[in-house]
Structures are given as structure tokens and as C-alpha cells.
Amino acid sequence: MPENKVEFELVSPEKLLVSKDTDMVVVPGEEGDFGVLPRHAPMISTVRPGVISIYEGKTVSERIFIAGGVAEVTPTRCTVLAEQAQPVSEIDPAAARQSLQDAQEDLAAAKTDAERKVAERQIAVSTAMIRASA
């Protein structure tokens, strides 16, 4: 592997989605976005729903939406484990808005804490999705 590249991997439980060498990756961490360059300090962070940007040189070559997960960063590698991922270009804003509305209705109708949690999570995901597609 070239010295000044980050080996980026995006993995879902069903398969390995992306595996490539990149110059920089920006990951939406739980406590703020962080960029991963080569020789980044080792770190493990949870990831909030948002967009991962993959940089080739100084430009963004790929933008992928993920609905939360975990990221592991080592000096040579950045691994993101995500349950749900899709390229930003494939997001359907109408569907996202619909699911946001459904989730809001669910939240209003939720009786237990568990149901409320699920609905709140869905709202966060849908909101992030709409923002990503805008």
C-alpha cells in the first residue's frame, strides 16, 4: 500500500461495501465530523447518521450516506461498520421525507420508551438523509 494513503473500508453486516485507498476520509463522528489522513492517531468512535466523504487528491470522489455505526481508525486504515449505507446520489428525497413524516407520527403515537427511541432514531436518520440529499 502506498505510504500516504488511507485504506478505507465500509462494511455492512451483509457484505463489504467499499474497500479502497484514499487520500482523506471525512467521517461524521458522534462528537463532530473528523477527517482521517494517513498516520492519524488510533481511535474508535461511534458514528452518527450522516455522509462519509471520500477524497481523491483535494476533491470529493464519493459521498456515501450511512445511518450510524462505528469507526475504527489506525495510522494506515479507516474502517467504518454501518448497518445501512447508500451513495448520496441514490437517495430519494421524497422517500426520506415520507419516512420522516411516518417516524414523527410514530413518535406521537409511541407509548413505551422503546417505541419512542426507535421513532427518534428514525427521525434522526431521515433528517440526516434529507440534509444529505439537499
Binding site: 473500508e9 462494511v11 455492512s12 453486516p13 451483509e14 457484505k15 463489504l16 463522528g29 458522534e30 462528537e31 492517531a41 488510533p42 481511535m43 474508535i44 468512535s45 461511534t46 462505528v70 475504527e72 489506525t74 474502517t79 461498520l81 448497518e83 422503546a114
Partner: protein
């Protein structure tokens, strides 16, 4: 002695059975390949999850305030056993061996004075366990691999287990499934899910990682929060992995069972054919003897 017509009927019925079993074998082989591919594809996620959890668990170990999913509820009175079997039969000893293992476990736990709850995944497991433990089975999940095994279904199962654990209804959760070794060998395995135990393999992985590059991770947010997020995910992944293995094992077991059945049917057909020809010759000989002796008597 069976008449010629009876024999002909039997031969043709065995032949059509053979056709069915060989078709089932083909189908199982195709499904097995798909199941194996799926299991293969899910491996990277599980491996990386193991690696992260290994290093996290090591750094939290011994500290107070570890999440209950890791540390346990402090008791081990109520056990939840998830029994993963197939929805269909005709796959050799696959379902019975899983059911037998679960039965042993349940009896052992009951003998030790624990309360046992059973969650069946797959119709066949429920059918076999219902006779003895109908009062212990809390629910059955059917048709999980139809049309294809999805992570979502595993996720739902894990959420149920976690909800029960958090409500204090269970203290320990284990899953019984068949690990896929090869088409002719599936090993019934019991794996503890709650509280989390690092398996021997995971420990190896974590060790080689720390030996190799001795990484000290920064955690963002702190370890406990990540663990609280990661452990439920890991549970879903472990269940998903078990279900995938089970799926592959089922198809493998069915393939070899159907292969045997096809071969047995072939053997039976050749035996029946021999008897049929003997009988046919005996009938001809008989007729000849009758004709000749009638001629001589004239």
C-alpha cells in the same frame, strides 16, 4: 409372490421418488452455494467487530460501570435459549441433533434449579421441543430465511433478547445452532450471547493485533458509551452469523441426505428390476412347461 404388474408399479413409483430426491439435491446444492456466499460476505463485518470489541473489552475490563451486557446482571437464574433450526424437514439429522442438544441443555439447567425460557427460530425445532417443554417456549419465529436471510431479522431477535434482559426477565442468553464445517459435517454449537464472552478466536485476534502494532486507541466518546452502542450491535451480528451458519448447514445436510436417498433409490430399482426379470422368466418357463406337458399328454 408379487405379480408382474405389482412389481412394475413399485419400480415406477421408486423411480419417481428418485427423481424428486435428486431434484431436491440439486436445489439444496444451489441454495447451499448462495448460503455460503452470504456467510462469506458477512465475515468481514464480524471480524472487525470482534477486533474492536476485543480491544474495548480489554480496556474496560475490571473497571466499575461496565455495561450490563458485558458484565452480566450479577445473577444467573433465568436462561434464554435461542434454538435455531430449519423450517422444513428432509435434511437428515440436522433438526434432531440441534433439538437433542437443546434438550440436554434445558434438562441440565433445570436440574441445576434454573428457570429456562426458549425462543425457537424455525418450525422444526419448535415441533420437536413442544412435546416436552411446551410451557417454556415463549415464541417461535418462522420463515426467517424466506426469501433470503436479512440482517434485519437477526436485529429484531437481538432487540427482543436485549429488551428482555434489560427488563430483568433473563440473566443469560445462549444460542444453539449448527456450525457449517462441510457438506457432510455440521457441528452443533452452543454460544453464549449475554453476557458477552470473548471467544477463543477473538482473543487470538485481539492478541495478535496488540502484539503487532501495540495500538492504544483514543475513544470518542468514552469507552463505556461506545461499548453501550457496540454490544447490542455485536449481539445482532452474532445472531446473524449463527443464522447464516445454520442456513448453510441446513442446505448442506439436506444435500447429503438427498444424495443418499437418490443412491438408495437407485439400488432399490436395480433390485426390483432383478426380481421383476426373474419373475418374468419364471412365468415364461411355467407356460412352456404347461404347453409341453399338454402336448405330451395328447
Amino acid at each position: 409372490m408379487a405379480s408382474l404388474k405389482d412389481l412394475r408399479n413399485r419400480i415406477s413409483s421408486v423411480k419417481s421418488t428418485q427423481k424428486i430426491t435428486s431434484a431436491m439435491k440439486m436445489v439444496a446444492a444451489a441454495k447451499l452455494r448462495r448460503a455460503q456466499e452470504q456467510a462469506e460476505a458477512s465475515r468481514p463485518y464480524a471480524e472487525r467487530m470482534d477486533r474492536m470489541l476485543g480491544s474495548l473489552a480489554a480496556s474496560v475490563a475490571g473497571k466499575a460501570g461496565a455495561p450490563p451486557l458485558l458484565a452480566g446482571s450479577g445473577k444467573d437464574d433465568v436462561h434464554l435459549i435461542i434454538v435455531g433450526t430449519a423450517d422444513r424437514g428432509l435434511c437428515g439429522g440436522f433438526n434432531s441433533s440441534i433439538a437433542r442438544e437443546s434438550r440436554n441443555q434445558i434438562n441440565a439447567l433445570k436440574a441445576a434449579g434454573k428457570t429456562v425460557k426458549v425462543l425457537c427460530v424455525g418450525r422444526k425445532g419448535r415441533d420437536q421441543l413442544r412435546r416436552e417443554f411446551s410451557d417454556l417456549i415463549i415464541d417461535t419465529i418462522e420463515d426467517i430465511a424466506k426469501p433470503a436471510l436479512k440482517f434485519d431479522s437477526a436485529h429484531q431477535i437481538s432487540e427482543r433478547a436485549i429488551a428482555m434482559f434489560e427488563a430483568g426477565e433473563i440473566d443469560v442468553c445462549t444460542i444453539v445452532y449448527a456450525e457449517f464445517k462441510s457438506v457432510i459435517s455440521q457441528i452443533v454449537t452452543t454460544q453464549q450471547l449475554i453476557p458477552f464472552v470473548a471467544s477463543a478466536k477473538e482473543e487470538d485476534g485481539a492478541k495478535s493485533e496488540t502484539d503487532n502494532d501495540k495500538l492504544v486507541y483514543d475513544y470518542e466518546p468514552e469507552e463505556e458509551k461506545i461499548l453501550a452502542d457496540l454490544l447490542p450491535r455485536n449481539l445482532a451480528v452474532q445472531i446473524f452469523k449463527a443464522l447464516l451458519e445454520n442456513n448453510a448447514s441446513e442446505q448442506g445436510a439436506r444435500m447429503s441426505a438427498m444424495d443418499n436417498a437418490t443412491r438408495n433409490a437407485g439400488e432399490m430399482i436395480s433390485n426390483l428390476n432383478r426380481i421383476y426379470n426373474r419373475t418374468r422368466q419364471a412365468v415364461i418357463t411355467n407356460e412352456l412347461i404347461e404347453i409341453i406337458s399338454a402336448k405330451e399328454a395328447m
